[in-house]
Amino acid sequence: MKVTEKDVRYVEDLANLELTEGERGRMVTDLNSILGYIDQLNELDTSNVEPMAQVQSIGSEYAMRPDEPLPSLPHEDALKNAPESDGIFFKVPKVIDK
């Protein structure tokens, strides 16, 4: 087993997820099965191969544009889907529990 329950708990924390006990057991099994399959990538020697983060035909030139202010989403519209707001800000529970 590559991935243990302890690893799954650690990754849950990184991903801001909180699995139930049942989900966690299943996750250990699934991740081990999938990672076992992914390990076949190690058959390939890629020491002299550049990593590909983006399709080559798309150049970075497209990312450049004149720096001009354009209209943005009205404040009211941006708050419309908020689970909780006071009309100005998004409201959230306390950040630190005392």
Binding site: L17, P51, N81
Partner: protein
């Protein structure tokens, strides 16, 4: 009276232009058909009657004056529910967006509407487009209209089913690892994915940004060409949309294919391919030979590494993209959490489905300290090898022909317990996403059980024109199925 089951884009447009039917009456007829017939399929998540009838009235006003209606004037379309529509609920098939009403509209949808299309509603899909069977929708599975006991494919299962069942003339889907082409093959319709960057993703709810595409599902290759022409092209709102001229793809329809070189990669006909799919695709390739194409045996040697590469890169990107669902600005929020951290974690656990959590966990793991090089960077290096396979092949051939899927549609429930088995369904489609090259699936036959089979054609970057030309030539040679 017009037969709703036989409408293509041109037939619809002509009927409305010549006032055989009004756009309003046609829209009403389609909304009624969805109401009457969609139940057992579950392709629609909602219909947007008001938006549809407003657009229909605009088209009727043009046609009433005797002016030419736009290229998709009055054509009833359905939109995969991963594309945001201003004022119309958009869920991405997820509980976490169950009440989300977007404040803006996806560029591809806006362009279709600007071309006169009438948006009937939003179509069911796997949650965040993650799945190959449409069983991962948080709302309901989609059933394949050709056989209701079978899946329509995924993740654009609703988009494929609606076209197959004629509850829309055209639909939009999205493709990250095969999500347009695979359901098109399973439902017996045409599904087209353009080159990476060809169609704007502005307003497409992100899954894996280096792989996501928007594209059409249609009854005919010509309809796919028309829709691609309307939605393709540079969009200042998407910095990854390419500034490459968009040819009129419709001009490719009917052009000769004599002398074009069609590559047949041995790796796509190896172990694991269903024998009926093989026979059907081989017959399709024979048709292309008879039409004057030169068939060339080629090799794409790294094909077997495509699925493991894809499931590292796609999940890594997804884990980052889905970090935004935190219960703060929109979407579901868990109740009675005492702290912000608890609210984040419980929101995500309660409102994401099992497959989405699995992919977030896998992607987070692959990006975590100590594993980044071994998994994420390794997969990116293998992605380079996969892209080179295509570059080298396209020095020898103009288009590559393969099966779209290893088997026809499987039964609901058949693969849900084994995620790896489900992932292997994408074996012939993920490669084009990883390399960024365009692909199309065209129906090429049926199994003895009557299940559709798809022929996949893949072309060079930004050469959708040749791909469409060959796809249409095949469709024409094939005749009715």
């Amino acid at each position: 009276m017009i037969d709703l089951n036989l409408l293509t884009i041109d037939a619809t447009r002509t009927a409305i232009q010549e006032r055989q039917i009004t756009s309003t009456a046609l829209t009403e007829a389609f909304l009624e058909k969805v109401e009457q017939e969609d139940g057992p399929m579950g392709a629609y998540l909602l219909t947007c009657r008001e938006r549809a009838l407003e657009q229909a009235a605009r088209i009727d006003a043009i046609a009433d004056k005797g002016n030419p209606i736009p290229p998709l004037g009055g054509v009833p379309v359905g939109i995969k529910d991963v594309m945001v529509t201003k004022g119309v609920r958009t869920t991405a098939g997820s509980k976490i967006l169950q009440n989300f009403v977007p404040p803006y509209t996806c560029t591809a949808v806006a362009r279709l509407e600007a071309a006169g299309a009438v948006v009937l509603g939003k179509l069911n899909c796997d949650e965040f487009a993650m799945g190959s069977s449409n069983e991962n929708s948080a709302y309901k599975p989609v059933h394949n209209p050709r056989d209701l006991s079978r899946v329509p494919g995924g993740s654009s299962g609703g988009s494929a089913a609606a076209v197959a069942a004629n509850t829309a003339v055209v639909t939009l889907g999205s493709d990250t690892g095969g999500s347009i082409r695979q359901p098109a093959a399973f439902c017996g319709v045409v599904g087209l994915m353009g080159t990476y960057g060809r169609v704007s993703r502005y307003g497409l709810i992100a899954f894996a940004s280096s792989l996501d595409h928007v594209g059409p599902l249609t009854k005919t290759v010509k309809d796919a060409a028309i829709v691609l022409r309307e939605i393709a092209g540079r969009d200042p709102l998407d910095s990854t949309s390419a500034d490459v001229p968009v040819p009129d793809y419709v001009e490719e329809i009917g052009k000769p294919v004599k002398g074009l070189r069609i590559g047949v990669p041995s790796e796509y006909f190896a172990e694991g391919l269903d024998s009926e799919v093989r026979e059907s695709v081989e017959r399709a390739i024979d048709k292309l030979r008879e039409a004057g194409c030169k068939i060339v045996n080629i090799s794409l040697p790294h094909t077997k590494y495509a699925i493991p590469t894809y499931y590292v890169i796609a999940t890594a990107e997804a884990s980052s993209n889905l970090a935004r669902y935190d219960g703060v600005r929109y979407g579901y929020r868990a109740q009675n959490a005492r702290t912000l951290g608890e609210m984040y974690r419980r929101t995500r656990d309660e409102a994401f489905g099992a497959e989405v959590k699995r992919r977030i966990m896998l992607g987070t793991y692959a990006l975590s300290a100590g594993y980044y090089d071994a998994y994420y960077l390794k997969a990116q290096r293998v992605r380079t090898l996969l892209a080179r396979d295509f570059e080298q092949a396209f020095q020898k051939v103009d288009v590559i022909a393969t099966p779209t899927t290893p088997s026809p549609a499987f039964k609901l429930g058949e693969k849900v317990e084994d995620p790896l088995e489900m992932y292997l369904n994408d074996i012939y489609t993920v490669t084009a996403d990883l390399a960024g090259v365009p692909g199309i699936s065209v129906p090429c036959g049926k199994s003895r059980e009557g299940l559709p089979i798809g022929l996949q054609l893949i072309a060079r970057h930004f050469d959708e024109a040749t791909m469409i030309r060959v796809a249409h030539a095949y469709e024409h040679a094939r005749g009715e199925i």
